[in-house]
Point group: C2
Chain length 188, copies 2
């Protein structure tokens, strides 16, 4: 099976280099993206929604034009192992998720998934072999409509200089920048 333009082994290597480690999530995420795209008209313009921050977003960023920094990869962190590829105007898309009922046939994957990777480094070879063999058979696929995200649609408009920190910030955030309103991530 091809993942994007790559053979699976090639993909795992490239994705592992980007992600810092070759992980099961990268492989599953790659298969998920492929599955969703196979259910959508070729040549369309699609955005992606990930329901987890773990691993899968890196697969999406490598295999699609959707990245964190260009705003086309959306994260709604429900902690579910699922990816939706959708048409951004009407929100219609295909959701691919890990079908937990199908995992009973794959003890390595079952243990890795439900025990949050306990001991997976020891059985890494077997686990990857199982994921590769299971491929898309452990997924569910269904059409969805992504609701509009009011936060994402908020146009923050022009930039002004914050009178407190003197840095630029989106005018729409108020008379001070969010950091000076108390949301600074920095401490003493």
């Amino acid at each position: 099976m091809k993942i994007g333009l790559f053979d699976l082994a090639e993909y795992v290597k490239i994705a592992g280099a980007f992600h810092g480690e070759e992980t099961p999530e990268l492989v599953i995420g790659g298969f998920m993206v492929e599955t969703a795209l196979a259910h959508l008209p070729e040549g369309g313009t699609y955005d992606v929604l990930c329901e987890t921050t773990a691993g899968i977003p890196d697969a999406v960023q490598l295999l699609t034009p959707c990245t964190l920094g260009n705003g086309r990869l959306k994260i709604v962190d429900l902690g579910r192992c699922a990816v939706t590829v959708f048409e951004p105007h009407r929100g219609m898309g295909i959701r691919v998720y890990l079908n937990t009922e199908k995992l009973t046939a794959w003890p390595e994957i079952h243990t890795w998934y439900f025990d949050r990777g306990k001991g997976w480094e020891q059985g890494k070879k077997q686990l990857f072999a199982a994921i590769e063999a299971a491929a898309v058979s452990i997924f569910g696929v269904h059409p969805v409509r992504v609701k509009e995200d009011p936060a994402a649609k908020r146009f923050r408009g022009n930039i002004a200089v914050c009178p407190s920190c003197r840095e630029g910030y989106p005018v729409a955030d108020g008379p001070l920048c969010l950091a000076c309103q108390g949301y600074s991530p920095y401490g003493e």
Copy 2:
């Protein structure tokens, strides 16, 4: 000036391919990462915090081992043009930000930044030349301590099957998965 292992032109091409477009934020983000790293001991292990989602996270993901999917790139979306590279245990790091007072010397950058890119496509060549010439001279640099993020530290523990949707979800999220608790991003 080198950006990571790349010459600037090479970097812009690679970053543009990943991001989908060669944008000013990618160049500024690249310079910012370089600046922060130059102020930190070589060979350290660092995480990154971005204060914006626009463009700069993609520069970080290409130039550092910190990605969205491996959890080492944190976003605190204050809409400020700033990057902090920090040591993850104690949070000590270097913050690099766009110093708006220094932009008066660079009218192309000033207009692009404060008018949120109005007409930048027309003056793209001049704008990129200005950014390249200004390089790190338009930044401020200061040491910071990143406060602990309670959300990021939350260990979601093992996975259970949600009794409503039958998908796997982090047990720590409650008796149902967050989607079935009402946080689903999907509609009719």
